[in-house]
Symmetry: C2
């Protein structure tokens, strides 16, 4: 049962990494659309078109499940992709929401993400549909560039984290959903500043979700990682994210079909 | 003599703004490729292809000069565009280099820009070809996201400016080239922290360059601004950059011809 995973760029490799850890025997195909990254500042129609193109490419490998490891794409394109493909399509929103609802005690949940994810209200809507909770949202557009600069735990990053999070932490949240696949790399910094918070990391949430729906076959899994463009940020984070798995570069025209 | 101006996004509007101020009677056509922004993290081939597409689109308006108001595109695509089009093509690099060489006294020049611009060495090479100077470069990838967050002059921005610039200012530079069209919006903050520095802003440099090569016609100029996608950052900076000029949205497919 091969799994396809795509993201606007390399952030989704945090999801790839977690899935790979839990499903070492499963064939995994990852596509990072680095030629058009980021999706977080694009319009919904554009994000949907790009997501369909990524999905189509991975579908060609005969995958049995498609993971949208990008919160912006999950927010805007999940419904369209579920209609388009006859396999389970898993976004990052639902697993994160389910995990957050399982662990919150005071029912006050914070959600952080890109402008696009927060504006789409996808987490908030899904949380409120499923339970009687209070939700406090905050877009954190500087987190991705900080991570891509390799500023994982320095004094500027801490100050930016405080600048963004103090406001929602003051609302007495006990659980914080990291609504962007880059953010798990800032988890330690966030934990250090707010040790009482329970942090929901979508890569773990998706993996738990897959574990309850998916049984890996008893053979060694193939792992392939594609990107549509070289990315200096990727060079910085590659080792941390994927170890020694080789990366294959595609021409954008190979996926740009719509 | 209409002028076409393009950028990967909205940063080039600092150039549009300056040209508009000096050439109120000239027809100006601006294209911001916001559907594929930023170019700074893309590979040279990709940047060249996107730049050709932007140039082609503007060329269709019968422009008499094409300004590449994007440092990454100027660094990688200027030569190709000069071969492709039979009109003057002006990048941001040459005018900035000429102005810097005119004003430096101690012949120590700093250059800041995106990863792509600095990696291309375009400013450094051009400065060293033209004069016997020392050049100190520093990529500042967080500046664009800070500007797009509207963090033009707050405590975090100041700290990031110091983090990036202290290193090259210590080398005793007297002139600093802002090698990215977003950076003019941080000029006041940089001046405040380093009042002794002479700052070369590419939008002013290009305008001076055009003034010495271009005579506007005696009629009221048409100003048209196109973007390939809506951009939340643009909403924040629109007023500051273009006042009340309307913005027209294109489908990416209208320019995506290569």
């Amino acid at each position: 049962m091969p799994i396809g995973i795509f993201d606007s760029g390399i952030g989704g490799l945090t999801v790839f990494k977690e899935i790979n850890k839990s499903f070492p025997l499963t064939n995994l195909y990852y596509l990072g659309d680095t030629a058009r990254v980021p999706y977080g500042n694009k319009s919904p129609e554009t994000v949907i078109r790009y997501s369909l193109e990524c999905g189509n490419y991975l579908y060609g490998f005969g995958i049995d499940a498609l993971v949208i490891a990008c919160n912006t794409a999950s927010s805007y394109a999940l419904k369209t992709l579920r209609k388009e493909f006859d396999i389970p399509v898993i976004g990052v929103v639902e697993p994160g929401v389910e995990l957050a609802l399982k662990i919150t005690k005071n029912k006050k949940i914070g959600v952080i993400g890109t402008q696009g994810t927060i504006k789409s209200q996808s987490y908030k809507k899904s949380l409120l549909e499923k339970a009687d909770v209070e939700v406090f949202q905050k877009p954190c557009p500087l987190f991705v560039p900080l991570v891509e600069e390799g500023m994982i735990n320095n004094h500027i990053t801490k100050m930016v984290v405080k600048e963004y999070l103090d406001e929602i932490v003051k609302k007495d949240i006990d659980t914080l959903i990291l609504g962007c696949t880059h953010y798990p790399l800032l988890k330690e910094t966030i934990k250090e500043l707010y040790p009482h918070l329970q942090i929901v990391d979508s890569s773990q949430a998706i993996t738990e979700y897959l574990q309850s729906h998916h049984i890996p076959k008893e053979e060694e899994g193939i792992k392939r990682i594609f990107i549509t463009d070289e990315s200096p940020a990727f060079e910085k984070l590659k080792k941390l994210l994927i170890g020694n798995i080789p990366v294959e570069k595609l021409q954008l025209s190979e996926i740009c079909t719509l």
